[in-house]
Structures are given as C-alpha cells and as structure tokens.
Amino acid sequence: MKEDKKTLQRMLDGQLPWEQLKPIIGDHKDPNRFDAIIEILQEKLNWKEPIILPLHEHLYIVSKNGERIVKCDCGYEFGDYRINWKTKCKIRVRDTFEAIEELYPKDMGCDPEWEELREYFCPGCFSLLDVEAVPPGYPVIFNFLPEIDVFYENWLGRKPPDKE
C-alpha cells in the first residue's frame, strides 16, 4: 500500500485524527515511507542541502560541501554528525530547587543533590532540542550515531544522496 502524501503531511503536523492514525500504526508499513517523508521534509525547509537522514524534530543530517553535517531547520549548522550535536548547543542546567520548581510543583521534580535537568537549545533559534535528567557530573549522552553508508547501501540497496 502506497501512502497518500497529504495524509503523511497531516500526520507530521499532528493533525491526523485517531481514526486515521490507528490503521497507520496497525497496518503493514509502506516500504516507500522513508523516501516519502524525506520528500515532504525537504519541501518544508528553507535551505537546499539534501537531507541524508532526519535526526530529530528540528535536526537533519545533510550533505554540504562534501561533508555530512547536522543542521537545524532554522539554518544553524552543528558540524560533523559524528560529533555529538549537543556539544554545540547552548545549555541551561537546572540544579537548584528554585530552578526545578519553575517547571515542576514542589516535591514533583528531582532533588538537585541526586539529579539535575539539562536543557539543550539550538544556538540559532533557541528551540529546546533535548532535556537530560542525569546526576550531576554525568557525561553528556550521545543518543544516536547512525551508520549512514550501511543503511543506504546494504539496507536500501542504493548510494547515499551525497554519493550518487
């Protein structure tokens, strides 16, 4: 079954009612989904670098001048995708009761002696890209490092967009 582009667009925008979303979750998946999503996302972006992999709600691995970099939809570039993009973010650490209780009611957030909240913002648009809840002193977590060439060449059976 090939999925309808408009339906996918509505799903990405969070506009699909449950009656329509449920069969998409339950049915067999459209093998064309990856390409269909890339096409929709690429059309929405204000820049032209080809998406190699959607990494995040706001971030993409794209090809630029022969490099694979992480780029925000606002245009901010985080550099080489093999380096944790969080290390290029602006970071707020909430490690006091006062800062935590700005968000969570008293007793319903962490105790800063045990754990802190780290908010990672895009330096370009200040969208909140990630929240880590970790004990103080915990190394920044590198959540996802894809094997792009293996994915394209061995799983999809074609060259990645930057090697076509």
Partner: protein, 738 residues
Amino acid sequence: MESKNIGWNGKSLKSMLEESEKLLEDKKSYYGIEHLSLKEENPFRYERAYASLRGALVSARETALHVAASPIVTEIGELCFGLYTPEGDSIAVSTGILVHIHTMSEGIKFMIREGYEENPTINQGDIFLNNDPQCGNVHTTDVQTLIPIFWEEELIGWAGGVTHQIDIGGITPGHTLVSSIQRFDDGAYYTCLKIGSNDKIWRDHMISAKKAVRSPMYWELDEKCRLAGNLMIRDAVFEFIEREGIEYYKKFIREAIEEGRQILQKRVKERLIPGRYRASSFMDLPMKHQAWVPLAKENRISNHPLEIIVKEDGKFSVSFDGASAGGANAFNCDKGAMEGGQWVLLTQVLIYGDKVNDGAYYAVEKNYPLGSWANPGDPYLSYQAPWGNLIPAYTAMMKCLSYGLFARGFREEVVPGYGFTGDSIQGGGIFNAGPLKGERWMLSTFEISGQGLGASAVRDGLNWGYAMWNPESDLGDVETWELFQGGIPYLSRKVKPNVAGFGKYRGGGNYGSVAFIANSEKVEFFAGREGLVFHGSGGMHGGYPNSTSYRLQATNTNLAEIFQNKQDYPISDDDTRNGEFERFLEGDIERKPYGTIYPISLHNYDIIHFSESGGPGYGDPLERKLESIKQDLDDGLYTPETVNNVFGVVAKYEKTTKEWEIDVEESTKHREEIKKEREEKSMNFEEFWKYERKKITEGELSEHVNRMYSESLKLSKTWSKEFKEFWKFPEDFQMGGD
C-alpha cells in the same frame, strides 16, 4: 530410581538442549533451520496451525482466570500462558503479563541443565512450581506452574502459566517488598520444585504452601488456575497432533521459532537505522535513614546506561555496560528478569502481531554485566523488587528504538518511554470491627497496571493505560480493590494535574487517590517508586520527563469528626504548596519528597495520598498547539501555573462557560519571553563542561552520586574510559573517597 531418556529419538533432554544451542551458534538460525519449508509448502496449513495454538493459549488464559479468586488475576488479568519446545523455547503465547513468557523458558532450561530427567524425573502428569529469580523468574511474587507434555514416550513440549500473587510471605505483607535486603526476606522460594503427579497437586505441598503466605485462599486458587490453564493447553496440543500428525508438530514448532527470529531481523531492517543508540536512566533508593538493618542504611542512586547496536544484518545487541552495583536492597535483578523485560518490550515495539515467541530472544545479543544491579551474581541478595531498576532501565530501550523509528520516518511508532508502574501502595492489617473482624486484609492495589505512556512524535501519550509488563494493562475498578483491601477504603480517585511529561506532545496523564484506614488494627503501610530522580530516561527531542512521586500522609487526624459533621475532607493534592490535607485536616501531616518508604504503622482515620505516573513528553513545549493546551486545562491535566511557566500560555477560566480561554496575543508574547530567557540563562558547551567538571573535582557530589560513579567505573573498563575521556581525567583517576 531407573529413568530413561525422554527426548526425541532416544536422546536425553540435555543433549537436545545442547544440540539446539550448538546449531544456533554454528548456523546462526534456530535449530539450524535454513528454510521455512512447512510455510513455503503450504502457508495456509502453517498459519492455521499457528493460529490454533495461539487461540488455545488465549482461551486457556481467559478460562483459567475464572478459577482464581485474587482480583489481581480475575480483574486485570495478571496471568499468562505459554507453550514451549522440549528444550524450553516459547512457541506461542497467550495475552497477559507477557514479561513472564521468557522467564518460564529459563525455568525449563534450568531443570534440563540440572538433570531433572534423571532425578526427580519428568513424567506425563507431573507438575513443577517455580518462583526463583535465579531460575528465570522476576521476583518471588510471580509464580510459575510448568507441566511437561508427552506424546507416547517422548517429551514434546511444556505448558507454563504465571500468576502474580497478592502476598508471598515475605518480610512484610505485600507483593513487591522494599524492605527486603536478602534472599531470606523475599518470602517463599520454590526452585523448580516438583509439586504434583498424575495431574494432581500433592496435598503435603498445598498444606505447606498455604502456610507460607498471608493469603492462603488466593494461593490455592491461583495454583489451581495455573494448572487448569496448562491442562487446557496440553489438550489443545494433543488435538493439534491428532489433526496434523506428530511429525508435522515436531517440525512446525521449530520453524515457528525460526520464523519469529527472522521476523525480528526483518522488522529491524524495515523500521530502524543501523548504528549506535544510547540512553540512560536512574533510580533512587533513599534508605540511609529508613532501613532497619545496618548494611542497608545507605542512600543509593543506580546508573542504568543502555547501549543498543543495530547491526548490518538486522541483529542487534543490548548492553547495560557501565551499570552500577547490586547490593543490600530489594532492587537487584537477575538475568531472567532482565531477559523478560527486554523480550516483553520487543513484543510491543517491534514484533507485535506476528509470531511472538523466543525467536525474537535469539535475534538479540545481551550483556548484563556481572556484579551490576542487572546481574549481581549473588543468590543471597534480595530479588524481591527488581522492578525498581528494571522498569526505569528499559525506558531507555524504547527511547533508543524510537530514535531509529523516527529517522526511518515511522514517527507514529515513536514512544520515548512510559510511566513507572510503581507507587504500589502495599501492606495490610487486621479488621477489628465489622463482619470480617479478626480477618487479615492485604493492601496490594494493582491500579499500578494503568500508567501514562510516553508521547509519540505525532500525538499525545495514552492516559492511565499502560504497563510495560502487560500489554493488556488495566488499572481496575476501585470497588474491586476494596474487596480485598477493605481496611483502607478510597475517598477519591481523580485526575492529578501536572504529572504528564511536558512537550509539544504531552505524555499520558494519570490519577491521584486518597484513602483512609477504617475498622482495622496492626496496619502496616509502605510504597515504592522514584521520587528524588525522574523516572526512566525522560522525554525525547525536547520533551520533559513526567513528574516524580512523593509521599503524603496524615496521622492522628480529626477525620472521624469531619465525617460526623459532614465537613469537607481532602480528595486530592493538586497544589502541593497549599494542599487540601493542610487545609481540611487537623493532625500530623507529613510530606516526603521521595516515593519509596519502609513500612510505617497506620491507625484508623489516618489518611494517605498516592498517585500513579504520567508518561514522558515529546518535543519543545513551546510548540504545543494552543487548542491542545486549552483541552489540557479543561481536562485538569495541567494547572494554569504550569501552562504559563512551561508552555508559555496565558489562560483564564471563564465561569459562565466553565471553560478555559487562551489569550492568544499574550501567549505569543510570553513564548517569545521564554525564548529570550533561554538565551540569557544558558551557557555554551565549554562553560558547561567546566561548570559540571568542577562538581566532580571539587567534591560537590553527594555521597550517593559519588558511590554510583565509583561502582560504574569499577565494573566497566569501557564506561570508565569514556567517562575519563569526556572529563579529561587521567587514566588512574578515581572518584573522591575511593
């Protein structure tokens, strides 16, 4: 006693198991199967055959649960059944608490490896009982009944069933005991014990077993429930063989498992991206001032770092390398529990709907480091509440897989985690008035089986409807719980605001409840849940973790007077700074910022608050649609303060329409202000790195956080190396105090 081999073609069971393991190792497929020849030759017969077994298992569960009396089993279906190969690999499963399907597999393999074939012997009609976490179980409260199935002289499989007990006779009443610190506190242990023959449970066992628990009637009927289900499964297998033939059966069961293995690999290639995935979660255990035994008097925070590698061939590995240590507490997990947790999540995230069996188990490589909480290697520790670590730890698996699902375009499948099936308020007491005077009541509310699920990348999380260990979760009716815990009737159960994780899509919400002690004496009360750390690995792509738990109770109250005078009494704790307990009650009101407490004594008209967990959020909360925020306010899921501070939305309550109204212009302005504040209050990575590093080097870490790092550094060379590299510490670096 003379015994003969009961395996196929005169082989011993042990040699069949060894052969199976060798073929898997050598040929990289289940029993070395290269082609699914039965499926290829006649797919309709093959699928009908599988459906008939699956149907028999579901039917066995649905029928058998009516034999039980425990509301945990009858009301919310805390049971499941599985059919296994002679070697102990699951072929097909029922619905229910599927976390136990693979655990029973480990129990069968234990019996085979220990030579049960020779002694105590395995015969048609024998009944085995197991609840030992060292032999595949999660904790003693989950009790397994296993029966062998023979066709003529050969063992052709096993049927197994699990029910969750209300009480297992541990150090305190309850089902998940937080004050247990060694094996001898965990309650009754049955280590793959033969307890019956000729399809009958031996009387001496039943007499003894009923004396070992505080709920003997439920125990007896639960045992009969499991046996009844197993006998139904055995009958279904006999019918299958009569219909299809024994040779078809023997070939079919192996092909079905190999197909399960292949399905997982195909699903991985269909839905994920090869690469490395990581997420971490944590759990607090504040026992320094609570524990009774000196050894357990320490505050602990456990480290659950998870790494998943998705490989080129579609296989993947799951590793908890870097996990902190096990110890004198109830949260230790044995490997069987870890295997069960991993398997049950795979059945929900990747392999739902197809051949759900141990094939999926064989497609995944696992690493549960020896000495860690995930595999302490010490049978004398307590394994009574392994859920304390297991449940938060496996949120990371959902989150890791969600990164892959997202990148592949399957945003509707993204789920960064789930609420903690904790805050299981427990204990019990004795009625001192009323028709049940002198009878014992147990507090084992299983509404923990309905937690908030995490948001997806396209919609909000499911409210009060998810349990990681039971895909058919159900929080049950208050009236049902009161049937067996009548000494602590509810005063309310209502939506609790601000528990759902914040995000563009919010996590699932949940309820809070208030209950009081009535007509009772000698009441013990305790509970277990996170509180000083957030549950699990939190939200995703800018979503926040769901709120933490806390404890609130009032003792020596004037509640009797309030009832008599028909005055207001507390029915919620919506505002923790200006609570109804403080406003409506006189008495000793105690708030504790943590969720896990050792047993305390309560008396009539003492009153408690407890709440279930929300799910983590997804995406930046400032991107949440204004109409969704209005709905959240109308539904009582968030308070206006949270909506203002977190979502940047200005709203006011319109008394005439009894609805919230959003001020669009003010909200747009406020969201811009929050973005500006983000800019002002954040630092770049270099500043952050120095700021955080100083916490380690200048002794700013608490004793328990320090201990957590020390344990992880000692237990894993890799984790230690990465930790030191990240903070640029020398190779011989040690945490302060080491």
